[in-house]
């Protein structure tokens, strides 16, 4: 069994054990036990919903910190996500951001937008070859790829077998840097400036490849305040940007799909909408679609948990910025090896009740029966997100129906009435004749 790493951590001091996160989790991966939330690791897809919804800020994203990362490598390359550009007001030149990144301590920059254009071109080529199962589902959002892997086994073969732009950027940037500097690969750091916590997981436990070349993932929210004053100092920026509209567009929803220059696509954003689309795809409700772009965050990557700006405002800023950019500056003659997956995506049946199908069936029956006995309020007080989830936990052996406060109360009531009945019983050996010879009344045991 593989080790599970997740980009979410819990501040136990701040966690009140409330029901907000358990209710919001799209894979029902969170439970409350001993008044604290805990994550069932194999189910978590790193979507960040729990981080967003926690009113006590107890759920926190994990990421690398800039100062530590800069000290760790001899040659440091910043890989800015297009979403980074969308954080700033009135930005009309990407080079200002890229120059400021150099001033911050990086030796070089390689825009993720550049690699995104390579992925777009590669996707167009794959689609033209016509060998992939349609509709092709984008693999760029790590939370979506993980969601498909645990919840939509029928769609695993539809996922685009290409690395996400940041992975391609890291590989190409390191290759370029190794040629330029002659340094060994371990001394070159490719540092993603990320809107997304799931990319932290993707860099530690990638899908589609055994090892990620992304050396570290730092948060846009951490870099942003350091970058702002430096950007003000940039007077005549060096020309560094090598990406066009298509690459920058990847920062928000529909960016990837529209780059395919094909009208038969669908783009959905926000985890709940994504799940609805996947359900419908599984039932083959849409015909004639070539490509499906899915982003777990609202508005796409600009809505990531590591950003600072409102996602919709960020999207508008990105639109403004790309206005006068050339369409695309990166083209490939054939799909580069850096872009290809080296291992297929495999279904992870973590939701299965039992490895033996017969036993799983019996557990399903028990689950149905238990669920019928529960109040159906889905209040979350038991620590599970719904009565159905509690029923499942009971058959899995990790919870008891007594965890339901209503069941508990019912049991207490019947216990008390039993006690009351017992209290009224007097053994006949204790019953005394009254002096006047009249027998005492029998205790009433009917209630």
């Amino acid at each position: 069994m593989e080790e599970f790493f997740h980009s979410v951590t819990l501040d136990t001091e701040k966690c009140m054990g409330c029901t907000n996160c358990i209710k919001r989790c799209p894979t029902e991966a969170i439970r409350v036990r001993n008044k604290k939330a805990f994550i069932i690791k194999e189910r978590c897809i790193d979507c960040g919903e729990c981080i967003r919804v926690c009113p006590h800020h107890a759920k926190k994203p994990i990421y690398d910190h800039l100062d530590e990362v800069l000290n760790q490598y001899k040659y440091r390359i910043a890989l800015p996500a297009p979403a980074l550009y969308a954080q700033f007001n009135n930005l009309d030149d990407v080079d200002i951001v890229l120059n400021a990144l150099l001033m911050l301590g990086f030796d070089d920059v390689y825009e993720v937008a550049r690699a995104a254009e390579i992925v777009s071109d590669s996707t167009r080529r794959l689609m033209a070859a016509g060998t992939l199962k349609k509709p092709i589902i984008s693999s760029a959002c790590p939370a979506v790829t993980r969601l498909i892997r645990v919840r939509f086994p029928g769609l695993v073969d539809n996922v685009l077998p290409l690395n996400a732009p940041v992975e391609v950027a890291a590989r190409l940037a390191k290759k370029e840097a190794a040629e330029k500097t002659g340094l060994p690969p371990e001394q070159i750091g490719a540092v993603f400036i990320s809107p997304c916590a799931a990319k932290v997981t993707a860099s530690k436990m990638p899908l589609g490849t055994e090892r990620s070349q992304v050396s570290a993932v730092v948060a846009i929210s951490e870099v942003y305040p350091k970058l702002l004053p430096l950007m003000k100092q940039v007077k005549e920026p060096k020309e560094l940007s090598k990406a066009g509209k298509i690459g920058v567009n990847w920062g928000s929803s529909t960016g990837e799909a529209s780059a395919l220059l094909n009208d038969s696509y669908l783009a959905a954003d926000g985890i709940e909408n994504v799940i609805k689309v996947l359900e419908d795809l599984e039932d083959e409700k849409f015909g004639n679609l070539d490509f499906i772009e899915l982003n777990a965050c609202n508005a796409g990557c600009v809505g990531g948990v590591l950003t600072v700006e409102n996602p919709y405002i960020a999207r508008t800023k990105l639109k403004r910025l790309r206005k006068y950019l050339p369409v695309s500056l990166n083209h490939v003659d054939k799909i580069p090896a850096e872009a290809k997956w080296d291992e297929p995506l495999e279904y992870a049946p973590v939701l299965k009740l039992d490895p033996d199908m017969g036993k799983a069936l019996s557990k399903l029956e028990q689950m149905e029966e238990i669920e019928r006995s529960l109040p159906g309020l889905d209040c979350g007080s038991c620590g599970a997100p719904s009565c159905k989830a509690l029923a499942e936990d009971v058959v899995r052996g990790i919870a008891s129906t007594d965890d339901c406060i209503f069941k508990f109360k019912e049991n207490m009531t019947s216990l008390f009435s039993e006690l009351h009945r017992l209290e009224g019983l007097i053994p006949s050996s204790y019953i005394q004749e009254n002096p006047d010879g009249v027998k005492k009344e029998e205790p009433d045991d009917t209630h």
């Binding site: 919840r151 086994p153 029928g154 695993v156 359900e279 599984e282 039932d283 083959e284 409700k285 279904y347 049946p349 939701l351 299965k352 009740l353 039992d354 490895p355 199908m357 017969g358 799983a360 069936l361 019996s362 557990k363 399903l364 029956e365 689950m367 149905e368 499942e392």
Partner: protein, 141 residues
């Protein structure tokens, strides 16, 4: 005794927007059982198409699904107007759906043919004016 999970759903003929809920629930159950993605797909599509038919043509009805380790048996029973010519209804592209559901993208005449395609056994019993019962079986093993 062979263990059997029985699931029963009332399909509401009044509310078109709720069609597909039974199929989604069965899909979730099959995934928890760990049946192959191909079987889940076949059951989900067969049931979905059947459910839509019950809403469009028959004002709803009752779906009973029996799951055993060997197969999924589905019975869709309604008290609708019945099918006059089953052979004709089975033809791809043949539909008696009213215009208002066609405008929603249904009524392409692919429902019954898709159900046939996705099930390993299918039987239709229908009496005009009385109702229709469709039984479908998808083999797990």
């Amino acid at each position: 005794m062979e263990n059997t999970l029985t699931l029963r759903y009332e399909v509401d003929g009044e509310d078109f927007t709720r069609a597909g809920e039974a199929s989604a629930a069965v899909k979730r159950a099959l995934k928890k059982m760990g049946v192959s993605p191909e079987v889940v797909r076949k059951v989900a599509i067969a049931l979905y198409e059947g459910e839509i038919n019950m809403v469009i043509h028959a004002d709803g009805g009752v779906i009973t699904v029996e799951v055993t380790p060997k197969e999924v048996r589905m019975e869709l029973a309604d008290h609708g107007k019945g099918i006059e010519n089953i052979e004709l209804a089975m033809q791809e592209g043949y539909s008696t759906a009213p215009d208002e559901v066609r405008s929603l993208g249904f009524g392409a005449g692919m429902g019954l043919p898709n159900m046939k395609k996705c099930s390993d056994e299918m039987k239709i019993e229908s009496t005009v004016g009385v109702g229709t019962t469709v039984t479908m079986t998808v083999y797990i093993q």
